[in-house]
């Protein structure tokens, strides 16, 4: 049966997501999360969050989705025993090498290939199954029909990010921020000499990708044409397609937004909870107070 996987970036947000009916919640660990410092938990908060989720019969998943530099890799792997001791059983990772290494060294863990891995096809799903991933996250731009083809690969859980920002450049295929600006900052979490790059989404910025794709640019051609250009970016919600994704065999319906405050996260999760429950009961999609998602629910500062 498909589960609803909600984001959370603070203890208050975890509470809100669970209250709203999430089956599982994913959070980031300070220093190792692509979401950046604003949406990360420290180890004490993480320990409490695991207990908090368990009390509700929910799972807490952990995003370790930066791509460590060579000297950081050993430090990341050294974190794992402590995390499993807390009760963490599922890690979300963003680098194929990290995933394969974790698979070998910690066979008891469930490993999810993050949306940043860029999987979109049946071939990608088959690749990640072969290297030992337990789950793979597809973007919400992959519709129910394509998701059904991916789920049919079998042997791996297919997750779809149903609520997300669809930016002009695809997740996992963007090096624009660091082309314009690369500003290393101190790495939180006790690695004194290690810096992380704020401009790099893959390397785990501190939440500042600079969003240069949303700046106004001047488009010009050598033969004299000029235009003001904004790159299209939109909030993507597949709420109306929940029945289709469930019928497609998608195992996890996932929402983006670890930076969302609890007061915005709670109604977002509740809305998807109601849609999933309605679909399972073969009922019509519930009517919501607002016909579309409020713009303020746009996921910011990832």
């Amino acid at each position: 049966m498909a589960t609803l996987l909600a984001p959370a970036g603070s203890p208050e947000a975890i509470h809100a997501a669970l209250e709203a009916g999430a089956d599982a919640v994913y959070v980031g660990l300070k220093g190792w999360s692509r979401g950046g410092a604003r949406g990360e938990l420290d180890r004490d908060e993480l320990a409490r969050a695991v207990r908090q989720a368990a009390e509700r019969g929910a799972e807490l998943q952990l995003a370790l989705n930066t791509i460590p530099k060579p000297r950081e890799r050993a430090a990341l792997l050294a974190e794992i025993p402590g995390l499993t001791a807390l009760g963490i059983r599922t890690l979300i990772v963003n680098d194929v090498g990290v995933l394969a290494t974790l698979r070998r060294r910690f066979p008891e863990l469930s490993l999810t290939a993050s949306i940043g891995c860029g999987a979109q096809t049946v071939a990608d799903v088959a690749f990640f199954r072969e290297i030992g991933a337990d789950a793979i996250v597809l973007p919400g731009t992959v519709g129910p029909a394509e998701a059904a083809e991916c789920a049919a690969v079998g042997g791996i859980t297919v997750e779809v990010m149903l609520h997300m920002v669809e930016e002009f450049v695809l997740l996992g295929k963007c090096a624009m921020p660091s082309y314009v600006h690369l500003k290393p900052t101190a790495m939180p979490g006790g690695l004194p000499d290690v810096m992380r790059q704020t401009g790099s989404m893959k390397r785990g910025g501190v939440g500042a990708c600079f969003r240069i794709c949303q700046e106004p640019w001047e488009l010009s051609t050598a033969d004299g044409h000029r235009a003001a250009q904004l790159f299209p970016s939109r909030q993507l919600s597949r709420l109306g397609d929940v029945p289709g994704y469930l019928a497609a065999g998608v195992g996890v319906l996932k929402l983006q937004g670890r930076s969302l405050p609890p007061e915005q996260l709670e109604p977002l999760v509740a809305r998807y909870r109601r849609a999933i429950d309605a679909a399972r009961a073969a009922a019509r999609l519930p009517a919501f107070p607002e016909p579309v998602l409020p713009p303020s629910w746009t996921v910011v500062g990832r």
Partner: protein, 314 residues
């Protein structure tokens, strides 16, 4: 590879550009446009033209490589299978892939075709190289964001040769939307001609190049004065990225780098003034080092290239 030997390759988007290009400076050519299925005459969509292109490259004594889409979807896979079948039948020397799924697909369905992993596949770590070694990958272009010291470390640790872009506009992003289609009517330029105009995005000192669904660096990444460092680190596969450039750019820049690489491998790091003049003549927004030195991709680290100020005055 023999001592002193190296490979310099380039990219060509279609048969028309290939026919107009002098492949003299190059050992190999990547055929196809990775960004858009509607790109003019994209041989990935046209088996007959792909066949002719491979034959043309091979007839000139060069290795023909097939490249593939940066962001394939399920409905693209049959098209790519058809192109791969042509590549095998015509003796293409390798295929470049930009998605991990295609690594597996090629290994399983076209095992005779060596696999080159492209920069959009996001290989950032030696652990990633190890995984791909298990799939029989023959060569890897690391992720664009990696600095040279990390690339060198990956090269030392892994058993797979690395390919580096030494010159050209660095691929920075891929989209499923084309920003240029909105201008077909107002500019009176139809697709697929639109993205072959030189289209730049400017904001203050920033500059990017748009090829519709792809974003490239506005400045040309240039590692000319760093070639001795690259060869000393053991790198032997180099690319002049020219997918959106003219045949004259491809010829002139390639000739410059071939000469410089021969010298660098002979232990001579002397840089000719005419080389800079050639590169300057073919760069609209100036030169940068990409991410080679762990700085912003727009920076230039070095002393030999004409300054950005000089470029702005052009």
């Amino acid at each position: 590879m023999e001592p002193g030997a190296f490979e310099l390759n380039t990219s060509v988007s279609n048969l028309r550009h290939l026919r107009a290009s002098d492949l003299g400076p190059y050992d190999a050519v990547y055929l196809g446009n990775i960004y858009c299925r509607r790109y003019e005459g994209n041989p990935l969509e046209r088996p007959t033209e792909l066949r002719e292109a491979i034959r043309l490259v091979r007839a000139e004594g060069r290795r023909a490589y097939l490249t593939t889409y940066a962001t394939p979807r399920n409905d693209t896979l049959p098209v790519l299978r058809a192109a791969l079948a042509v590549a095998v039948a015509e003796g293409a020397a390798a295929v470049e892939v930009h998605s991990l799924g295609l690594v597996k697909l090629v290994r399983d369905e076209f095992p005779e075709l060596p696999i080159h992993v492209g920069n959009f596949t996001n290989v950032y770590t030696s652990a990633g190289v190890e995984v791909l070694e298990g799939f029989g990958v023959a060569r890897i272009t690391p992720a664009s964001e990696l600095p040279l010291d990390e690339i060198d470390a990956i090269g030392r640790a892994g058993g797979i040769p690395l390919e580096l872009v030494v010159h050209g506009k660095l691929p920075l992003g891929v989209s499923e939307f084309c920003v240029l289609l909105d201008y077909e009517r107002t500019w009176g330029v139809p697709c697929p001609e639109l993205c072959q105009r030189e289209v730049f995005l400017r904001k203050e000192a920033w500059g990017l190049k748009s090829v519709g669904k792809g974003i490239l660096s506005g400045r040309d990444v240039c590692l000319l004065e760093h070639l001795p460092r690259l060869v000393a680190a053991g790198h032997r596969h180099f690319r002049v990225e020219a997918v959106s450039e003219s045949p004259e750019y491809r010829r002139a820049v390639g000739a410059t780098y071939r000469e410089a690489l021969v010298r660098a491998l002979a232990g001579d790091g002397w840089l000719e003034a005419r080389w800079w003049e050639t590169l300057a003549a073919h760069s609209r927004l100036g030169l940068a080092n990409g991410f080679a030195f762990g700085r912003s991709g727009m920076d230039y680290v070095g002393t030999e290239a004409p300054s950005t100020t000089e470029w702005r005055a052009r």
